[in-house]
C-alpha cells in the first residue's frame, strides 16, 4: 500500500515549454516524499470544471519543488494550462507502484510524446543510486513543435538523448519504437517505457521478440479516484487470472509481459 495523502496547496508556476506542453510546479509540502513512477491525482481544490482529478506521473522533484509535465489535449489538461500562480489545487498522493530500477550499466528510457513526463525524476534518481551507469533517453514526437527542450534543468540528467519525429523534422526520422529497435544491441540494458498505448504495445512486442526481460512501462488509464476504489482503471492481464488489474494499485508501472496488449 502506498502512503497517499491529500494535499491542498497553491500552484506556484505554469511554464510552457513546447506546443501545448507545460510544467505545473508546486512547492513540495513538508513530509511529502515520492519515488519515480509514482503518480498524483490533481484537481482544483474547489471542483467544478474539471470535476474529477487527473492521474499525473511525478515529473521531477527538484529544488524543493514538485514538477508535473502536461500536454493540453483534454478538458482538464487545457484548463490546468490557463491557471494562474496561487490557484488552490488538490493533490492526492503519492499513489501507485513506482519504478524499481535494476542494477544495470545502461538504463534506456523510451518516451513517446508526453510519455516523457516521468523520466526526469527517474533519471535524477538513477544518477544518485546508480553512479556511473549510462542513462539514455530515446524520445519521439509526431512533430518538431512538440519536442520539449532538454537543456538547462533536464539536460544534465541524460548521457544520451536521441530524438525522433515522424517526418524527420527534429532528430531522426521515424517513431521512437523504430529507434528502440536499433538499440537492441545485446547490451544488458534496463528498459523503461512511457507513451501512448499503441507505442507501448509495439515496444512491448519488439522487446519480447528480442528476449528482453524486466522492462518497466508506466501506463495510463482513466481513473476517478487513484487509490483502488472506483475500479475504473482496468488493464487486462495476459494470464487471464484475474482478468483485470487495477492500474492505480498494481501499476502504473508494470512489466509489459504481464499485460494483454
Amino acid at each position: 500500500m502506498t502512503p497517499g495523502a491529500t494535499w491542498t496547496i497553491p500552484l506556484q508556476e505554469v511554464e510552457v515549454v513546447a506546443e501545448g506542453t507545460y510544467w505545473l510546479r508546486f512547492q513540495r509540502p513538508h513530509g511529502l516524499a515520492c519515488e519515480p513512477g509514482h503518480f498524483f491525482m490533481l484537481s482544483p481544490a474547489f471542483p467544478g470544471v474539471p470535476f474529477l482529478g487527473r492521474p499525473l506521473s511525478i515529473g521531477d522533484v527538484h529544488g524543493g519543488r514538485l514538477h508535473f509535465l502536461l500536454r493540453a489535449l483534454g478538458r482538464a489538461t487545457r484548463w490546468f494550462r490557463g491557471l494562474q500562480p496561487g490557484a488552490p489545487m488538490r493533490l492526492v498522493g503519492p499513489l501507485g507502484r513506482p519504478f524499481d530500477p535494476p542494477d544495470r550499466e545502461v538504463h534506456r528510457l523510451v518516451a513517446g510524446g508526453i510519455g516523457l513526463a516521468p523520466f526526469f525524476y527517474l533519471a535524477r534518481r538513477l544518477r544518485e543510486s546508480r553512479p556511473g551507469a549510462r542513462i539514455e533517453l530515446l524520445y519521439g514526437e509526431r512533430a518538431a513543435a512538440t519536442h520539449v527542450e532538454l537543456d538547462g534543468a533536464g539536460g544534465e540528467l541524460f548521457d544520451v538523448v536521441e530524438r525522433f519525429t515522424d517526418d524527420g523534422s527534429r532528430g531522426a526520422s521515424g517513431t521512437v519504437v523504430d529507434g528502440a529497435v536499433g538499440r537492441l544491441d545485446g547490451v544488458q540494458a534496463a528498459w523503461y517505457g512511457c507513451g501512448p498505448h499503441p507505442m507501448l504495445r509495439a515496444l512491448a512486442g519488439r522487446l519480447e521478440e528480442a528476449g528482453v526481460t524486466g522492462a518497466q512501462f508506466s501506463l495510463e488509464e482513466r481513473m476517478a479516484c487513484g487509490f483502488g476504489v472506483c475500479q475504473a482503471c482496468i488493464v487486462p492481464n495476459r494470464s487471464g487470472s484475474p482478468r483485470y488489474r487495477l492500474l492505480c494499485m498494481e501499476g502504473p508501472v508494470v512489466d509489459p509481459r504481464e499485460v494483454a496488449w
Binding site: M1, T2, P3, G4, A5, T6, M41, S43, P47, G48, V49, P50, F51, L52, G53, R75, A76, R90, V92, E221, R222, M223, A224, C225, F227, G228, V229, C230, Q231, A232, I234, P242, R243, Y244
Partner: protein, 321 residues
C-alpha cells in the same frame, strides 16, 4: 447528554449522520491511509454478489459537467472472499463505525440467496445492516433493471426480508416516473428504511469517434450534478411516508449539501462520488455539520425534516448572488 451529531435511522444507531456510500468506499479498508474509519458514522460496502464479478470492459468512467458516468458493472470479490479476506480486517479498523453490507443478485432468487448467506455468516462478518442494490439487470428477465419494475422489485425485497432479520435498507433507483411507490413497496415488505438515490442513466458521445465513450454505451450519472434530484426524491418520500427512515444519497460534496438532505427528511446521509475527488470529503462534511450545530447550539436531529414544517418560514428569502 446525547452527542449533538448522534442520529438514528430506524434500527440503526449512528454516532453521526455521515456514511460513505456503496461503490465509493471499497469494502471499508481503502481510506485507512487518509483517516481513521471510526471518524464517520458508518460505511456501505461495494455491492456484493454471491459469486465474484470481473465487471465491464473499459472505459468505465467519463467525466461530465459537475459529475461523472460509470459503468463499472458491479465488479466485486464475491461474498465468500469478502467474508474470508475483507471483513476480518475492516472489523479491526472500524471501531464505532457501522458496517452496512450492500448486496445484489442477477435475479430475485439470487437476492434471497445472498441475503441468506449474509444472515448465516454474520457471526463472523458482524455487519450492522444490509442495503439492497436493486439497480442491477435481471439476467433471467432479459436484463431489465430490477429496481425499475415494481413486481420484480417486490419479489427481490420480499426474498431478502424472508432471509434475514438484520436491519434492512433498500436503495432506490431514480430511473422511474415516481420513486414513492417503490419506497412504499419496500416499507410494505418489511424494510427498515430506504436509501435514495442511486445513479441516473446517462450517456456521453465521443464526437471525434462518433461513438459512446463508455465501453458499455450508457452508465450511471453521479456527483454534484444529481444533488437536486436526490433532494427532490427524499423530500417526496418523506412527505408521503413520514415514518419511513431515509438515508439520503446523491451528489453530496460538502456539509451544506448534506444539510439539504437532512432538512428534506433523511436521518443520515451517504457521501459517494465526492470521495473520489477529495478523499477527505466525508470527514470534511462531518466537520461542517458539527460547526453548524455548534454555532446554533442545536443538535443535528433538529435539522431532520425541517423543510417540511407547516407554514411559510418567518425569514424572507435573500438572494446573495
Amino acid at each position: 447528554m446525547v452527542d449533538r451529531l448522534a442520529t438514528t435511522c430506524g434500527p440503526l444507531e449512528l454516532a453521526n449522520p455521515v456514511l460513505a456510500a456503496s461503490g465509493t468506499f471499497g469494502y471499508g479498508e481503502s481510506f485507512e491511509r487518509f483517516w481513521p474509519l471510526d471518524t464517520i458514522g458508518g460505511f456501505v460496502t461495494k455491492t456484493l454478489f454471491p459469486a465474484p464479478r470481473d465487471g465491464n470492459p473499459a472505459p468505465r468512467v467519463a467525466e461530465t459537467s459537475a459529475g461523472m458516468l460509470n459503468s463499472i458493472g458491479l465488479a466485486n470479490v464475491g461474498w465468500e472472499a469478502f467474508v474470508r479476506d475483507k471483513a476480518p480486517r475492516v472489523n479491526e479498523l472500524r471501531g464505532s463505525a457501522r458496517m452496512i453490507v450492500n448486496i445484489a443478485g442477477n435475479s430475485p432468487e439470487e437476492f434471497g440467496e445472498i441475503a441468506a448467506r449474509v444472515e448465516a455468516d454474520n457471526g463472523a462478518v458482524r455487519c450492522d445492516a444490509v442495503e439492497v442494490n436493486v439497480s442491477c439487470p435481471n439476467v433471467k428477465e432479459g436484463g431489465t433493471n430490477i429496481g425499475c419494475h415494481l413486481d420484480q422489485f417486490r419479489d427481490a425485497v420480499r426474498r431478502v426480508r424472508a432471509a434475514t432479520g438484520l436491519p434492512l435498507f433498500v436503495k432506490l433507483s431514480p430511473n422511474v416516473a415516481d420513486v414513492v411507490p417503490f419506497a412504499r413497496c419496500a416499507a410494505d415488505e418489511g424494510a427498515d428504511g430506504v436509501s435514495l438515490i442511486n445513479t441516473l442513466y446517462g450517456m456521453q458521445i465521443d464526437i471525434e469517434r462518433r461513438w459512446p465513450v463508455l465501453g458499455t454505451g450508457s452508465g450511471g450519472l453521479s456527483g454534484p450534478a444529481i444533488l437536486p434530484v436526490g433532494v427532490h426524491w427524499v423530500y417526496k418520500v418523506r412527505a408521503a411516508l413520514p415514518d419511513l427512515p431515509i438515508l439520503g444519497i446523491g451528489g453530496i460534496a460538502n456539509w451544506r449539501d448534506a444539510l439539504q438532505y437532512l432538512m428534506a427528511g433523511a436521518q443520515a446521509v451517504q457521501v459517494g462520488t465526492a470521495s473520489f475527488v477529495n478523499p477527505d470529503a466525508c470527514p470534511e462534511v462531518l466537520a461542517g455539520l458539527d460547526r453548524w450545530c455548534a454555532t446554533r447550539g442545536s443538535s443535528i436531529r433538529d435539522a431532520i425534516g425541517a423543510a417540511h414544517r407547516a407554514g411559510e418560514p418567518a425569514v424572507e428569502p435573500v438572494w446573495t448572488g
